[in-house]
């Protein structure tokens, strides 16, 4: 039995001994040995208490029992905290190697004592002992601040000492009056006397003690001094300060609440959540990386404080949730500060230097994921449990505020990541050293190890054991291999996964599975066109596919949500790879995470107290709550399908993505959103909120999306943007079919899912191939490419025929089903809108083919070749598929139709050989194909006959009426092709949604800029703010 007292005695003895050792290297080795021993002791205790079944132990001193002597306690919580603190200390000491060797033994002693003090705060059960350890920590902090060479650190240290003087005065007054009131200095002894309730002057005394401890946690607005420390101190110390000090102080606050009782919980939550929100919002305008991390640290500690304040409703999940977020924060902050020590300049954009070493980028991404609460990390599980507990107890405002704060945090973190990936590499190289790399590596491994551990201890699936996710992560290892090797592995993996799981899907899911898995494999064929290596492409892409694979297999809300976030993150990394995609990728991830948080809220609300809910359980949600769940889930899924109002991220994201990525995100990823809507509508059906039928609202939104999406597409000059807006419109179409809630509507939507995948992928690949060869994406710069790129022309031709619904291809069948569906439903006006969107779609499709392939060939394009072979292969496959589906639609649809009959029995189709009959008529694709072929052949032959007498005119036989246009595009027919339509209908496509979202983010930034002026830099002002904070808290809790 190793006594936990060694955690105090050993570092102290070592620190005192250092004065006797003259050789700095020996002293440093002793320091590391002492800290490693401390970590070993803590680790031993974690092992004993967590696995070997030992019981918590009280360590007495002076051979006397408490409360007459001081005692320490070592329980599971204490051991985990001590391990966190000692490990962080050890890593920081390693990181500080050069600095410590330069300054000498005294600095090493200060580091050891700081760590010892934090451990003491965690272990002690005596109030005055707590005060002594706090003062020790404060003095050690003031000393360690000076480890940096920065002269600014002096000011920060003095400001810190000023505030800590006030804190200690309040703490002492509180302690002595509490002693007078309870006759006790032991925390457990005091709790026994007060029995969870304090009144009168004892309440004031306790308030003083509590607020002093909370002040150490740097609450808003009394935290100006902390930010200065974070900005100017040595990064290893900031890591220690953020991870270890915050951890210890939080536990002290938790211990104290046993004395004050539940009456103090609301104040704790209030301070915590205000700090979380303010810290994150004020981080938005920051440019200094360490100051940004300081704001983020303050915010995260505030979040854990809020969780401490919710301990009454969290029950047995309290430690899991609190530690989940706390250790995620500790690891992430330590890691990010360690990384910041390697970057020489202090601007956020200087982190682009990390690209010199790809493992550091991976580390950066891991740390951001830890902070944002993305799967598979502990903070994800913790966030899930927290959301469910809050929803179950009706604390919805709190949940909303926390999720909003988390979204803001994700926004600035991912914006920073975008800088690192896309900005120019600064001239200053990275300042790497083994002493810096080792701690970062350890922290990184710890993050992933804890992800596995938290998965094991949650009641849910362990996400790190899921095969698709592991497969995707394996690509990190194979990243160094040539692209074609990775590509083959990826395709094989997708096909193999489908083969393994195809029996698990009902016909509805089978459609999505075929598109996501097999369809993904086909699209990946196009990726063979890239030669050499593609660092980062395959892990990102496979992460997205892993998410989609697990989405389809998800049977309960947790698996669904985890898969949803995985595919969001994977697609973000993928989209970020495009050349100009930095702002668009950010917009994408913010909207997606916003939608994901809404989905989380919806699931939490629906779970009705349980920690997880089978997806079918959505049908059994209590009627009072069901409409809200529906709204939350629907909006969440609509951010992924880019419904109108939530669509502004899509055009940029899809257009700027790489050639082979656009089909993946536009053809496949959007279907995930549709899948979500399918799940919601199937289980929840029609919901009414305030007398309005929500599916009716969905219908209207869908109709508007279809109309406006298609309308915006016709005015685009950029071919990929045109296709992107087209996707918005087509998604509106599909959503309309789903929202009609009748058999044929659903059938059409599902048929649409397949069709849209095929022709959108095809078109994106074709357009991408053309853009590759001609060097531009703008349609007015192209023209006449039909002769040089005939295969691309054919694929685009087939594509637009299919898409526009012209017979004989599959789009026509879809139209037919759609009109049948309309006739069986009751909605007139939305129907008309959708009806109009059809011809409008045809407009831009026509523009696409006409301006690119027909017309006159430009000079610079006279020598272009056909698109790369591997880009053409999938397109040709799609052509064959389209024709096959056109002739025999029953191949895909028959099973689905039968399945739909089970769910929505009315108005089904009858299948009879090649003929399909509905209530209103019949459709015979074979006959149509033959008829159309005959008509076409006839006209074609007649055209050829007439053409014999045609006269060839040279390309440049054009008169300019004596004016030379200096913007040649204005005379090109393809530029501003639909000008008359713009005059007539342009008012419908004003960028209102963009303006709205710009206003939202702009006001957040403006608010943050204004509020941060609070931190004037004057230490006295900070002291005044602190005093004001104490008094405000006192006034607000007077009702306590």
């Amino acid at each position: 039995m190793v006594s936990a007292l060694l955690l105090i005695a050993l570092p102290l003895a070592a620190a005192f001994l250092l004065g006797l050792i003259s050789n700095r290297h020996i002293a440093y080795a002793l320091t590391l040995a002492a800290m490693a021993a401390g970590a070993a002791v803590s680790g031993w205790w974690v092992w004993q208490l967590g696995w070997a079944g030992a019981v918590p132990v009280d360590i007495l001193t002076a051979g006397t029992a408490p409360p007459f002597a001081i005692n320490l306690r070592m329980g599971l919580a204490e051991s985990v905290l001590a391990l966190t603190i000692t490990l962080t200390g050890l890593l920081a000491a390693i990181y500080l190697k050069d600095t410590l060797l330069a300054i000498g033994q005294r600095a090493m002693a200060v580091v050891m004592i700081a760590v010892m003090a934090y451990c003491g705060i965690v272990l002690t059960r005596d109030l005055f002992n707590l005060f002594v350890f706090f003062e020790l920590a404060a003095i050690a902090t003031a000393g360690l601040i000076l480890l940096s060479d920065d002269a600014l650190a002096l000011g920060a240290g003095f400001k810190y000492l000023v505030v800590s003087q006030i804190i200690s005065a309040l703490l002492l007054v509180g302690i002595i009056f509490a002693y007078h009131g309870t006759g006790n200095l032991n925390i457990d002894g005091m709790a026994a006397v007060t029995m969870g309730r304090v009144g009168g002057s004892l309440a004031i005394a306790f308030f003083l003690i509590f607020i002093a401890i909370v002040a150490e946690l740097k609450p808003f607005p009394a935290n100006g001094w902390a930010l200065d420390i974070y900005e100017s101190a040595h990064p290893a110390f900031s890591a220690l300060f953020s991870a270890a000090a915050g951890t210890a102080t939080l536990y002290a606050a938790d211990k104290l609440l046993a004395i004050g009782g539940p009456a103090f919980l609301p104040m704790t939550t209030g301070i915590g959540v205000l700090t979380f929100l303010a810290g994150n919002i004020l981080a938005l305008p920051q440019h200094n990386d360490r100051r940004l991390l300081g704001y983020s640290s303050i915010a995260q500690i505030g979040l854990v404080l809020a969780i401490v304040g919710q301990r009454d409703i969290l029950g047995s999940a309290y430690w899991f949730v609190a530690f989940g977020i706390l250790v995620s924060h500790a690891i992430a902050k330590a890691g990010l500060y360690f990384l910041s020590g390697m970057v020489v300049e202090r601007g956020l954009t200087a982190w682009a230097a990390l690209r010199a070493r790809p493992p550091l980028i991976f580390a950066f991404a891991t740390f951001i994921a830890l902070l944002t609460g993305l799967p598979p990390f502990p903070s994800f599980y913790a966030k899930w449990e927290l959301a469910h507990a809050l929803a179950a107890n009706g604390r919805l405002t709190l949940l909303a505020v926390i999720l909003f704060g988390a979204l803001v945090e994700a926004a600035y973190l991912f914006r920073w990541f975008g800088y690192a990936i896309k900005r120019a590499v600064p001239e200053q190289k990275l300042a790497c050293a083994p002493a810096k790399g080792l701690p970062t590596l350890v922290v990184l491994i710890a993050g992933w190890a804890l992800a596995w551990l938290w998965g094991r201890f949650s009641g849910q699936t362990n996400l790190l054991m899921g095969l698709p996710l592991l497969f995707a992560l394996a690509f990190l290892v194979t990243d160094r291999l040539p692209a074609w090797v990775n590509n083959t592995l990826a395709i094989a993996g997708l096909v193999a996964w489908f083969a393994l799981t195809w029996q698990a899907y009902d016909p509805l899911r089978m459609i999505f599975a075929v598109i996501m898995l097999l369809g993904g494999a086909v699209v990946l064929l196009a990726s063979y066109h890239v030669h050499g290596k593609r660092p980062g492409f395959y892990p990102s892409a496979m992460l997205m596919y892993a998410g989609m694979a697990q989405l389809l297999l998800a049977g309960n809300s947790f698996d669904f949500f985890a898969a949803w976030e995985v595919l969001t993150v994977g697609s973000y990394f993928l989209i970020l790879r495009g050349k100009d995609s930095e702002p668009h990728a950010l917009s994408y991830i913010v909207f997606s995470l916003g939608g994901a948080f809404l989905i989380l809220a919806g699931f939490a609300l629906a779970a009705n107290g349980a920690p997880v809910m089978p997806l079918g359980g959505l049908a059994r949600v209590p009627a009072a709550v069901a409409p809200w769940v529906f709204v939350l889930l629907a909006i969440g899924f609509m951010t992924k399908t880019a419904a109108i109002g939530l669509h502004i991220w899509l055009p940029g994201a899809h257009a700027e993505a790489e050639t082979d990525v656009s089909p993946m995100v536009s053809g496949i990823l959007l279907k995930a959103g549709l899948y979500g809507l399918v799940v919601v509508l199937l289980t929840m059906g029609r919901q009414r909120l305030g007398g309005i039928d929500l599916t009716h609202v969905l219908l209207w939104i869908a109709a508007l999306t279809a109309l406006l999406g298609n309308l915006m597409a016709i005015f685009q000059e950029d071919s990929k943007r045109l296709l992107a807006y087209s996707s918005i419109g087509q998604m509106g179409y599909a959503q309309f079919g789903l929202a009609m809630m009748n058999h044929l509507g659903w059938l059409m939507a599902l048929m649409f899912v397949i069709n849209h995948y095929v022709y959108k992928s095809m078109l994106f690949l074709a357009v991408g191939g053309v853009a590759k060869r001609t060097g531009t994406r703008e349609m007015y710069r192209m023209g006449g490419l039909i002769t040089l790129m005939p295969l691309s022309f054919i694929s685009v031709l087939i594509g637009i025929i299919a898409m526009s619904g012209v017979p004989p291809l599959s789009g026509f069948g879809g139209r037919w089903i759609f009109y049948n569906a309309l006739l069986t439903s009751d909605y007139r006006l939305p129907m008309i809108l959708v009806f109009f969107s059809g011809p409008i779609a045809f407009l831009y499709l026509f523009r696409l083919i006409h301006t690119i392939f027909l017309g006159q060939l430009k000079d610079e394009h006279r020598r272009v070749k056909e698109a790369p072979f591997w880009l053409m292969v999938p397109q040709m496959i799609y052509v064959v598929i389209l024709i096959a589906v056109a002739v025999v639609p029953g191949m895909a649809l028959r099973r689905v139709d039968e399945y739909m009959t089970r769910l929505l029995p009315a108005n089904g189709l009858t299948w009879d050989g090649f003929r399909i009959t509905s209530d209103y008529g019949y459709w015979d694709p074979m006959a149509i194909m033959i008829i159309v072929a005959v008509i076409f052949a006839t006209l074609f032959l007649w055209l050829l006959f007439l053409n014999r007498k045609a006269q060839w005119v040279k390309q440049f036989n054009i008169a300019y009426s004596a004016e030379r246009p200096f913007r040649p595009e204005t005379t090109h027919f393809a530029w501003n092709f639909f000008a008359p339509y713009r005059k007539a209908l342009g008012f419908l496509v004003q960028p209102l949604a963009t303006a709205f979202w710009d206003t939202v983010t702009g006001s957040l930034h403006a608010g943050a800029d204004f509020a941060r002026k609070l931190y004037t830099g004057n230490g006295q002002t900070y002291a005044l703010q602190f005093l004001g904070f104490v008094l405000a808290a006192y006034l607000l809790s007077l009702g306590v």
Partner: protein
């Protein structure tokens, strides 16, 4: 009796803080904090007083058996010992900081140390 000491202690705390929060010279701020620390220590000691009792030392005038009935509370005295020493430690630290700040900027005015802000 104890009330007077207590009141004095609180007054010293308030005066000390007022000085520390309004004086711009670093040395005066440190003096203000020293006054406040003295005030806190006075409050602690005042709490332990009990009317009509004597110091907690067993000697010829106070046999061990009579101790519980005749001594004042010894705990605040022990606490204040620690508090005084800690106060000294922090004061020494603040003085060293003030010296370095003066060296760096040739002024002791706290409102000039505002390079880090916002």
């Amino acid at each position: 009796m104890a009330q007077i000491s207590l009141a004095t202690g609180f007054l010293l705390i308030l005066i000390g803080f007022y000085g520390a929060l309004t004086q711009r010279n670093l040395m005066r701020m440190i003096v203000g904090f020293t006054i406040a620390d003295s005030g806190v220590n006075l409050v602690i000691v005042a709490i332990g007083y009990m009317h009509g009792r004597t110091a907690p030392i067993i000697d010829s005038t106070l046999p061990a058996g009579e101790a519980p009935a005749r001594i004042i509370d010894p705990v605040p005295q022990a606490l204040v010992l620690t508090a005084i020493v800690i106060g000294v430690g922090v004061t020494a630290l603040m003085l060293a900081y003030a010296y370095k700040l003066y060296q760096a900027k040739r002024t002791l005015d706290i409102s000039t140390f505002t390079e880090l802000k916002w």
